[in-house]
Amino acid sequence: MSVRLKKALLEVWLNPARSVLMIMALGIGLWGLGSNLVSYSILNKDLNANFTGTKPPHAILKSKDFASLELSSFRARPEIDVAEFRDLSYQRIEVFPNQWIPLWVFGVEDFDNMEVASIYLEQGRKVPEPGTMLIERNGRLVSNLKLNSVARVQVKGKTPAVPISGISFDPAQAPATQDAFISSYVDKKTFSDITGEPANQRLIIRFRQVQSRQDVQHLIQGIIDEFRRNGMTVNTVDVPRFDQHPHQFQLNTLIALQGSIGFLALVMGAVLISQLMQAILAQQVRQIGILKAVGATRSQIFGIYLTMVLILGVVATLIAIPIALASGFAFARFVSTVLNFNIITTTLPFSNYLLLVSIGLLLPVLFTLPIIRRGTSIPVTEALSDYGINQYTSRLSTKTFACLPVSNSLRLSFRNLLRKKKRLAVTMFMIALGVAIFSAGFNVRQSLVVFLNDTKESMKYDVQVVLKNSISLEKLTGPFQSLNNLSQIESWSGGQGRLQSGVISATNGVGVVALPFDTKLMKWDVIEGRWLQPKDEIEVVINQRAADLLDSPVVGEMLVIGLKEKQLSARLVGVIKEFNVGKIYIDKEQYNVLVNPEGLVNSLMFTAKDRSYASVVDMKMDTESRIEKAELDVLYVMSQTERAKIIYDHLDIILTVFAFLSLIVLVVSALGMASTTGINILERTREIGVMRAIGATPKTIYGIFVSEGMILNSIGISIGILAGLPLSAIAARFFGNLILGHDVSLSFAFSVEGLAITLLTILFFGWLASRIPARKAIAVSTHEALSYE
């Protein structure tokens, strides 16, 4: 082994504490980034592969006239890849005694040969026996249902019992744990028997060679026109997103979060290494001089220190990559469980490993290159005249601290901090960054809590009953007049509407909600324009999701909306913010005049006298009992608590990951602080000896270094908390946009609880980071310190 390589290796080996610190700093950063890279590779590929593996339909057409469609001829059309009838009916299923959630019942043509919207069998029978059904596996997590149990299904007021003959996996559906509904699959006859609806009225299609929804909409328009010419009326057209999973937005958020914070942690680790390298070079100035004196050129010495960095990089990479692989896969499995898809990746592409190794080796080299270059360029005379006690020339700080009413030791700590201003700035920046990100995590979490509370508060009712079809007010309200704990009932109308897109001649489904414009049961968060007002002109307000569907219409423009076979023009007067599917809000009276002359209603809002959680749960149970007795055909019954929980469940995973990643950044910050205190002590070893020689006790020296660390910590925390405020606002905007879309921001909120946790955490880390090196400093004897080279 070359002596130079041996020297580099020994530098690492004989200074274990310093080497461990450097390896940890780089390793944590690499682990953070590597873990992100691994989970990103898996999730990005697998969620998509799971979803696209089902061959999701490009278009879904509904028509009562499909009986006259010759399916085999339709399938033979050149643009059609696959087409089949896959009926869908929205019913309800009892998940626990007297607790019902929506049930999507799919009528499948041929279980053995599903070429579009495929499902995979996990347990039981692949082809359900007549009268039985398969349920989607995720449904078991929100119910007591399992293979061979008999489910109660609520259909048009009846509750037939349907045995579960199989458990299937359908990665194209939103998970039951997130969206609180269960998907089920039955044969055509069973479909009609259970739902009472005719089969073969919903056609799902995949086209050949389509790249975008625009391509699909273009093709579908031709088909609809041809159907019309042949006397078939298409009632609804849905062009779903066939290129991404319904919950892709959560994954995008997680990936964006992971990537940015992981990279940040890595950069902070690299900065830390560069600081430590600077300290090593400062400590070894005389050694560099000696090496030059015995014949070493600058490039040879440069090579020794660069090799040292590379060795540290190799060790950190070797440690971090397996951990990153394990945690990346573990995180991917966690996300796959939450979003209900299977991890199919077993090995990562070689390029991923190459990238990780390159980053692990190159990043520390890049960050230390200028420092090593500068450190090794010191002239021999200057290097040999270094005696380990640096001169201190800042008269300004001497004067400033002279008047501080503190002990001499504390004053000395203040002065010492200013001896290396650049290092002080870098360390403070790292602490501040860690605190800023950590506190921003809590603030964003608080923003989400505020958003959830606002959402909950915006709905002043406690339980909502939505029917599948509109009925008369009397018939709907009748069963509930004597509902326990009832304070107020309000009825709304509406149904499925269609927005005429300005870009392409196809339609998009949205929910139309017809409600009294002056309802007291909703408090709107208007982000553009205003809420509905009594006017002669027809006005509508949409939520931000509907705005996205319409390619961000301008408030004030006229929208064409399809409502119950009619088309009407309405002026868009506002956009509201809500965590919901696309919705159009219209005044109930205007709606009745236009499309609902009989004044039928389809939803009831109940307000409770006692709005406590337990009372509302009781009220909901009572509501369910009355629905069953009255044989109402209900789409869903939901309490606001449940709605808030659904929203929270969508966001919880994001918040958890954010908190974890913020903690990593904070730990790297603390390592930065530990390294700075360690470096200060290392550089001033001889000074410590001098201080002890003139009478300083170990306690005094310990106090000076711990004080230095805590002063540094306090300033860093203050800056970090202040910097955390704009960062929180930016993060709230970023998350708002990812979660809600349409460039909608979450409101900025400050978490006092978060502030307390941040302070306690960083002060603890800071104390630890000062204490360990300070104790090490006083463990050195006066003789050792004075003879230190």
């Binding site: 020994l10 050694q287 015995v294 014949g295 050129t297 021999v380 080279e789």
Partner: protein, 231 residues
């Protein structure tokens, strides 16, 4: 036996910029040292001894004048070429030994050979062991410097200085940190080396009357005050 002129210093001055203006450490010094001579440089603290030594080793550049050693104008070499030249032509011995603390004694010597690359790789280890034998510490080859006494460390430093077989050895108060018995041993070692043809230049405060020096140069206020040939 002294031979050709190995060192020729001509009108060398060295000034340092300090807060109160320029400080002249050396004033127009001229001297010659012959190959194989053993020369002592003496003088009070601040007389310019170490500065002169730095000129001879190429550790520092003169402000004026020239330094020619073994045919090379060292004041005209850049830092890298000077380092390589130094490694091959001058062995330096410091007062505080300055061995690399993380390397064994043997590796300290091998490192000097590795940098300069004038000794064939396959010969290096044997040469290093021979040098340690020469300075009397062969049994300590694989020990770290901290495990050796001051005298032993200085012997190791001398062995390192001889690693690339330079014609000249320059020592800056090599015995300043050693007891009188060890001082005598080190002085004897230098004498032996001089007798073997090495030029030895030593800055010292020791008694030089019985140490085998050929010449004594006395510096005072940056100038060559006296030059005395010893019998």
């Amino acid at each position: 036996m002294p031979g050709k002129v190995l060192v020729e210093v001509k009108n060398v001055s060295k000034k340092f910029a300090v807060a109160s203006g320029d400080y002249t450490a050396l004033k127009e010094i001229s001297l010659q040292i012959l190959s194989g001579q053993m020369v002592a440089i003496v003088g009070k603290s601040g007389s310019g001894k170490s500065t002169l030594l730095n000129m001879l080793t190429g550790i520092d550049y003169p402000s004026d004048g020239s330094v020619m050693i073994n045919g090379a104008e060292i004041h005209s070499l850049d830092e890298s070429r000077l380092a390589t030249w130094r490694g091959a032509n001058v062995g330096i011995v410091f007062q505080f030994f300055q061995l690399i603390p993380t390397l064994s004694i043997l590796d300290n010597i091998l490192l000097a050979m590795d940098f300069v690359n004038v000794i064939a790789k396959k010969e290096r280890k044997q040469r290093a062991l021979d040098l340690l034998e020469l300075v009397g510490i062969a049994g300590h080859a694989n020990k770290l410097p901290a495990a050796l006494s001051g005298g032993e460390q200085q012997r190791a430093a001398i062995a390192r200085a001889l690693a690339n077989d330079p014609p000249m050895l320059i020592a800056d108060e090599p015995t300043g940190n050693l007891d009188s018995h060890t001082t005598r041993d080190i002085q004897n070692l230098f004498e032996q080396l001089s007798q073997k043809g090495k030029t030895v230049v030593v800055v010292t405060h020791d008694d030089i009357s019985s140490s085998g020096y050929d010449r004594v140069l006395t510096l005072k206020d940056g100038m060559l005050a006296t030059e005395e040939a010893l019998p």
